[in-house]
Every structure is written in structure tokens, then in C-alpha cells.
Amino acid sequence: MASPILQVKDLRTEFTTHDGVVRAVDGVSFDLYPGESLGIVGESGSGKSVTALSLLRLVPSPGRVVGGQVLFHNDDLLQLSDEDMREIRGRDIAMIFQDPQSSLNPVLRTGFQIAEAMLAHQRATRAQSLRRAVELLKRVRIPAAESRARDYPHQLSGGMRQRAMIAMGLANAPAILIADEPTTALDVTVQAQILELLADLNQELGAAVVMITHNMGVVAGLCTRVIVMYAGKIVEQGPVEQIFENPQHPYTWSLLKSIPRVDSLRHERLRSIEGIAPDLLRPPRGCRFHPRCPFRVEKCFSEEPSLKEVKPDQLASCWVTMDRARAEMGADTLLDIRPGAASGVHPGELVD
């Protein structure tokens, strides 16, 4: 495999609140390879979006990155001057957000906003940039691009605004495009169009895509590798097909079991994950998933598992792993998914 274009090492981001310190991202490490499409999935509060914002040093106050490295071309982005970082943002690494409505300036014409992204980084003239903005709008398949470039954002539909955002992200042909829930606010038929566009652009332009999402289906369709986050930490990562076929962390496993599938022809009861995600002000000791895990053993209550290779290319942080849960605890035929149900380990009180 080629060498990584971005290396994240032990990233830590904290939010200081009245009630204490929230470790939103707590020691996250991963590599991103050129041209690949990496999914980061997790539920609200898992730290997936804060991870993305931390890479670009865009974490809003009172949050701040307190540790780790983000290596891009031998530079640690966390150590760059503000000025150098501004050069990287939008030129080498671009980001698109969930809500294009609030990310676009309502009083500037769409085409100009895209041109502005180029004017900020290149020595192109205003006219050249505007011409290229129209090309970019065509590239993201906006019909009648010339006239749309003269429209204000409110004149565009939700799907078109997200396309315009993507065009803006692509303006300087970045090596990395980070997309934070880019389709969550869109209707499903429009979502499908945007996902197809992102997949095409990933192929055509060779930019690496980091897809932040809560939707396992989006990862399945678009990504080649996936990182699963829970309570500020990576709990599993590896090739998409492998992880969907044979997840090793009980959280990944139960997440996949809890999604109703539109193609299922039988009515099966969903296997929901009991309990709620932990309060990051007071994360549980040991493994952070143990209060909800049907397969927990005593060690899980006190000792935190580290992320280690459990299969070729597949990392998971679990003392038990699903292979053992299947072999010894009958995970495949498990009907009761309450915490500790499969392992029979129920010490302590559950905090609900």
C-alpha cells in the first residue's frame, strides 16, 4: 500500500464546561491513504464530527485540541502557524458540512463564493476564477450552471446547495475532502444523487474522501475502509466488507443488528442496544461500552482494552471480541441482548 497522506496520532480534543472536562476525542489514531474513501461512523456524541473538525483546527470554543499529531506531508497541522493552516484549509484539505444553508453566505452569488475559494489561495484573476466556478458547477452536475452561478443560495434547492458546497470544496483540487454528514438533511432520493456524485468525484479526481456519518448504509455504498467510534474512542476499524461481514466489536455488531433493512422479507424483532451512550463527563471505567454490552466479562469493568489487530487489517478494542462471543456465548442465536445477558456477568449497578 502507498504511504498515508494523512496520519492522525493519539488525537485528543477536550471541551471545558461548567460541569467539568468532556474528552470528546480521546486518543484517536488512524491513517488516510491517497484516493481512498474512509468512513467514520458513530452516534451522536461519539466524537466523529469533533475528530473531523480537529484535523482542520476548526473546533469551536470552548473545545480545544490538547494532544496528538495530525501529520500531512511531514507537517504536523496542529503545530502550524494560523497563517500556514489557513493555506492548507480549502487548498489541500477541504470540508463540506451537513447544512449547506448555513454554510453559504446568503448575500453573495453562488458562483462568486466558489470563485472566492480560489482567489483566497491562487493567483488567478477574478474573471478566471468565476469561469472556473461555472466549470465546477457543471462538474457537480448542476444544470444551467452559467445562470445558477449568478443565483443566490436561497434560489437553489437543498440538493443544489449541497452540490454548490461540494463544488466549493473542490475548487482548489484538494488532496483530501472531509464530508461531515453531507446528506443527513436531504431527502433520500437527493441523498442518493449526492452520494453518487461523491463516489464519482472520488474516482475521477483521486481525492481522498473522509465521510463522517451515522448511516451504515452510506458507508456500505461509498467507503472502502471504516472507523467505528463510541464515546470518544475508536472501537473498531478496517476494510468495509470485512467489518460488515464479520464485526469483532460488540458495539459494531449490535449497531448492524439494530438497523431495519428495507430488503428483509421477514419481520424480525430489532436487536436494540439497551441503555444510552455514556455521559462523557463521567465515562465508565474500563471499556466504555461495558454498561451496554451483552458479552462483557469482569475485566471489562476495570481495564480499558486497547485497539489491536484482531484479523488482518482489522482492529478492535475488546477483551472478548465477537469470534469468542460466537464460539462461547452463542452470539448468533442470542435473543436477549441486555447488558451481560450472554456472558452472565452482572456486577455493579447499571447507570441509566
Binding site: 452516534e43 451522536s44 455504498g221 439494530s258 433493512r261 422479507l265
Partner: protein
């Protein structure tokens, strides 16, 4: 809790009596001078007792408006809604209020639909107090029982909504809806704001409650996979019209309307092998404005199989039987 992973028998048989009947329902909203939004534009269907009828569609299709019309939370422009054989659209005042007891609604946003200054106990007790059903110790017992039924600690009744997570708040909303022993519950995007793992908890809870209390659901959501999972029949709306109603398995295995097919194909499946091999039915463009819906079949501007201009842009297709208990509104449903 421990539930067998087998087909759960559906509570509603084919012979179950009709609970809700909707006839030619229309709701137009004024939108500026001389313009109307045709939010619901001539809709007829029924819901059987004990059944879950799913209602899906994209934003602006009129599904939430339809839910509110069924409950008579907003007045209809024309058309009729029956509960049993009583025409709700022709009664008002105290008579309507008494009928409304039998119908409750659960909203999407558990943050916005609970009064932050009321305790959870008061929130759940409110419908019982409003209708003068019970008070004092009996009321407290009922509230605690309702909390237990939805899987919350009965001693939480003195806490406030902000002390609960999103999923727990939705349970509170469900407890409030159950308070008056309703027969119909309209779930309006009731799980859309929740995380995936919490969604599954609430879906399972709704299924358990339905069996226990013989509830009938109108389950409104934009997520077709959840709707299909929970529903006996699925109804698809597009621009104020019902374009298909079918058994939930048939909806997936043999859709008779190109829009339903497109919706299904657009849902990304959490299965990389299947998902990569799937072909997205490319629907060009987005939903047109309900202020000036397209002529003829409202879907013709985005339809991959439309024959233009005749008949699709000129003749509005009727919602007709295309199979056993399977209705669709398409001139070319055999080509879907």
C-alpha cells in the same frame, strides 16, 4: 425483552373492522396572494383496528399534514374523516373532544414537545386531568404505571424533561399518549431524531405496546426502511397525493409505482456487497412545488418511464387496484 426472532404474528387480520376511514380529504393552505399550497389534495384510505399503516414520502409531500387532519388538529378544506362510523369532520365542541380521547399523537422532537417547566409526572398526568378521568392517589398510581409500561423508572415522576436523554424523552411522550387508553396513535416522525441504537429500542417498545393494548398506529416517517419494518401496510405520498398502498412486503418485492421503486432503490443498504451491486434508479431533479404541481401525473417531471406528453402529462392516473389489496396510481404500473 427476550423475543424470539421469528415472524411476529400481525395483530390485524384481513377481517379486522375499520377504525379510521378517510374520504377524499383535501387541505389547502393560503400562501401569499392568490396562491395555495395543495398540501393534501384528494386522499382516501382506511386503517383497520390493530393495524399499523405506514405513511412515507419526502419533505413537503403532505404526510404530516395528513396525520394532523386525521386527528382533526387542523380543519380540513374538504373531505371526510370517520372514526368508527362517526364523521369527525361534521362534529365539533365537546362531542369532538370526547372522540379525540381515542386518538393521540407522538411528535418527532422529544425536546420541543415536552414542557420544560412541568415534571414528567405532571406531563403524563395532564391528559387524565384534562378529561377529569382520575385524581389524587389513583392518578399518581396511573402515572407510575405508565412510566413502567414505557420502560422508565416509576420514581422518575418528579424529574424534569431536561434530565432525560432523547430516547427517554420519547418514552415520556409515548407514556403521555397512552394515558387515556387511546385506540389510535399517530406517530409523526416519532423516531427520526433518535440515534440508530435508540430507534431500535423505541420501535420495539411501540410493537410491544401495540400487542399489549391493541393499538392502531398511523406511522409517519421519511425513512422507508423503518416504516416498512413496523407497518402492516405502507402508503406512499407524493405532492399531496397517495401514489401507492400495499402490504409492506409487497411494497418492497413488487412496487407498482416508479416513485416507490425509486425511493426503495435510493435507500443505502447496510451491506457493502449488495449495496455496490445495486443500481440507483436515477431520479432527476427534486420535488416540484406543491403550489403549482405538475399537470397530469404529478410525478411525470421526474419519472423514468413517463410517456410524454400523452398520457402522463395530461391525464391524472387514478389510485386503482393493481393486485390483491395493492393500489397504485400509475398509467404504466405494469412497466415498473
Amino acid at each position: 425483552m427476550a423475543e424470539a426472532l421469528v415472524d411476529i404474528p400481525r395483530p390485524a387480520g384481513d377481517n379486522a373492522p375499520t377504525l379510521i376511514r378517510v374520504e377524499n380529504l383535501v387541505k389547502h393552505f393560503a400562501a401569499g396572494i392568490g396562491q395555495t399550497v395543495k398540501a393534501v389534495d384528494g386522499v382516501s384510505f382506511d386503517i383497520k383496528q390493530g393495524e399499523t399503516l405506514g405513511l412515507v414520502g419526502e419533505s413537503g409531500c403532505g404526510k404530516s399534514t395528513l396525520g394532523r387532519l386525521v386527528m382533526q388538529l387542523i380543519p380540513v378544506s374538504s373531505g371526510k374523516v370517520f372514526l368508527d362510523d362517526v364523521e369527525l369532520t361534521s362534529i365539533r365542541g365537546e362531542k369532538l373532544r370526547q372522540k379525540r380521547r381515542q386518538m393521540q399523537i407522538i411528535f418527532q422532537d422529544p425536546y420541543a414537545s415536552l414542557d420544560p417547566r412541568m415534571t414528567v409526572g405532571d406531563i403524563i398526568a395532564e391528559p387524565l386531568v384534562n378529561f377529569g378521568v382520575m385524581r389524587g392517589r389513583k392518578l399518581n398510581q396511573r402515572v407510575q404505571e405508565l412510566l413502567r409500561v414505557v420502560g422508565l423508572n416509576p420514581n422518575f415522576n418528579n424529574r424534569y424533561p431536561h434530565e432525560f436523554s432523547g430516547g427517554q424523552r420519547q418514552r415520556i411522550g409515548i407514556a403521555r399518549a397512552l394515558a387515556l387508553n387511546p385506540r389510535l396513535i399517530v406517530c409523526d416522525e416519532a423516531i427520526s431524531a433518535l440515534d440508530v441504537s435508540i430507534q431500535a429500542q423505541i420501535v420495539n417498545l411501540l410493537e410491544d405496546l401495540q400487542r399489549e393494548f391493541k393499538l392502531t398506529y398511523l406511522f409517519i416517517a421519511h425513512d422507508l426502511s423503518v416504516v416498512r419494518h413496523i407497518s402492516d401496510r405502507v402508503m406512499v405520498m407524493y405532492l399531496g397525493k397517495i401514489i401507492e398502498i400495499a402490504d409492506s412486503v409487497e411494497t418492497y418485492s413488487s412496487p407498482k409505482h416508479p416513485y416507490t421503486k425509486a425511493l426503495l432503490s435510493a435507500i443505502p443498504l447496510p451491506d457493502p456487497k449488495v449495496q455496490r451491486g445495486r443500481r440507483l434508479v436515477e431520479l432527476s431533479g427534486e420535488i416540484p412545488s406543491p403550489i403549482s404541481p405538475p399537470s397530469g401525473c404529478r410525478f411525470h417531471t421526474r419519472c423514468p418511464i413517463a410517456r410524454l406528453p400523452t398520457p402522463c402529462a395530461e391525464l391524472e392516473p387514478a389510485l386503482e387496484e393493481k393486485g390483491r389489496a395493492h393500489l397504485a396510481a400509475c398509467h404504466f404500473s405494469q412497466d415498473v
